[in-house]
Subunit: 155 residues, 2 copies
Amino acid sequence: MKLSEGVEWGVHCAALLALAPPGVAVRREFMAAHYGLPDAYLGKNLQALARAGILHSVPGPHGGYRLARPASRITMLDVVTALEGSASVFTCQEIRQHGSGALPPAECVRPCTVDAVMKQAENAWRSTLRSVTVAELADRLPADVRKRNERLLGG
Amino acid sequence: MKLSEGVEWGVHCAALLALAPPGVAVRREFMAAHYGLPDAYLGKNLQALARAGILHSVPGPHGGYRLARPASRITMLDVVTALEGSASVFTCQEIRQHGSGALPPAECVRPCTVDAVMKQAENAWRSTLRSVTVAELADRLPADVRKRNERLLGG
């Protein structure tokens, strides 16, 4: 059970874009070089973030990507979900209703406890990721790094 | 990012074994039939649980599996970790230290915030799974189902 490496890339790029001046789009090539990432593969992740409405893709010679809404309204969960999907990590196959020990439907009105605990655990995971925004990630950078990045991005 | 179907099987089988009389081993074939699971594939999961010290494999004609310690001391996290490993779902590649925007080592003494939040989220997930024991799962079965299973297991 693994998150793809694109998650780290996507979160860092979103936090970087949070430091760009309003309306300024940042080229994919710039972000790839900034973090030493494979350009084309990063592109796929940025496109996924754009499809999810987190980034806005700006065409043309001064094009690139910018955040599609304020960084304070983009959570880490938004980015992770855009890149990994929103499917549960645990899929209950209701084995309690199968085989020679199958429970009758009347005993299965309430969700299976195993499934309920798995869902509760996943909700705890999602809640933590939802509690941190891209704006906060950018704010938590060391002040000199944040200023350097703002300068690099034309701020 | 998905947990294997063996997780559901392993948790249910452990909860079933919690209802066996003390010292009684339950055959793999019985558990496979009870939940309608593929016998050989279930065997691989049960062996993994035995290797992790959760089940005890009893050889011989009356052999099978029993819990290796009291059900009240086996958590859902124990079972999940035995079957899925204990590796983090997120692997930080420290991209903040790569590329043209690389931070100098002095700026990277503290863990990367992205990694820290990811770890916090995963800890929340693990905590929830750690909070529920196999004994509690067995206890939460409907009373008549619990009694039926106890009877089937020779109790």
